[in-house]
């Protein structure tokens, strides 16, 4: 089992939802993330910028015809940090289960 590393930045509820979503896809459209996570445009932009500044996220801006389209994806570091964070959560749950088993 991989040793986990709890990540405070990822663990914030909205960021955890965003990172969980992105961990399942290659790229995701801004509107798709917004609708799935249930955030406003400005709140999502803020969270994406925080994750981007941490090096966990890459943001791509492109034009489809005349319409701007923003997409995001996890970087390798972001994906790794997410997997370690999940492992850390599993360890916490696992330890509690083992503790209960000893009692």
């Amino acid at each position: 089992m991989r040793a986990g590393r709890f990540d405070e930045l990822i663990h914030a509820p909205t960021r955890l939802a965003i990172v969980s979503l992105l961990a399942a896809v290659e790229w995701a459209d801004f509107k798709f993330i917004r609708d799935e996570v249930g955030l406003s445009d400005s709140a999502l932009s803020k969270q994406l910028t925080t994750l981007e500044n941490a090096g966990y996220l890459e943001i791509r801006k492109a034009f489809v015809g005349k319409r701007p389209r923003t997409s995001a994806r996890l970087t390798r570091e972001g994906r790794h940090a997410f997997e370690l964070h999940v492992a850390a959560l599993q360890e916490i749950v696992g330890r509690a289960g083992a503790g209960r088993g000893l009692r």
Binding site: A24, V25, A28, D29, F82, E83
Partner: protein, 157 residues
């Protein structure tokens, strides 16, 4: 952090990823629509009337192609699946196997019935093939969903 908070966070992650995977899978109505188009092609073929063949088959083919292209691009526009990681070899084999099974079943039955002298071999074959699509498509999606959920990031240690 308390264990129940960690468990709740893990449940939230699972739920979020299930939602994403459900959003990118092909809906059941698509399979029914394609099945209907295939039956139209089969029935038109059996009429052997030039006008029917010239109109019904191209229209059905265009509708099926438009639905398929729309479905693919609609999904890609929202999110691109990490197909190599999420689907893996097992998922890819399932998709290819399903397509070959439906095509093989439809053609096999069609040619078999024609050899047996059936007056409407293509109609019967495409009704059976269409039923396989309409019933098997959602089953395939459920299997892919299971595979994708087991392969998603954070689910393996």
């Amino acid at each position: 952090m308390q264990p129940d908070e960690a468990a709740s966070a893990l449940a939230g992650i699972r739920q979020q990823q299930k939602q994403v995977i459900d959003a990118i899978l092909v809906p059941a109505w698509y399979w029914w629509a394609v099945a209907a188009g295939v039956v139209v092609i089969g029935a038109a073929t059996d009429t052997r009337r030039t006008v029917v063949l010239a109109v019904a088959i191209p229209v059905a083919v265009v509708i099926i192609a438009a639905l398929t292209v729309g479905m693919i691009f609609g999904t890609i526009r929202r999110a691109q699946v990490r197909s190599a990681e999420l689907l893996g070899d097992r998922g890819a084999l399932l998709i290819v196997g399903f397509v070959w099974l439906v095509v093989g079943l439809t053609l096999g039955i069609g040619f078999g019935l024609r050899a047996a002298g059936s007056p409407v071999p293509a109609t019967i074959a495409t009704v059976i093939g269409g039923a396989a699509l309409a019933e098997g498509g959602p089953v395939l999606m459920r299997r892919l969903r299971t595979i994708m959920l087991s392969n998603r990031a954070g689910s393996r240690q």
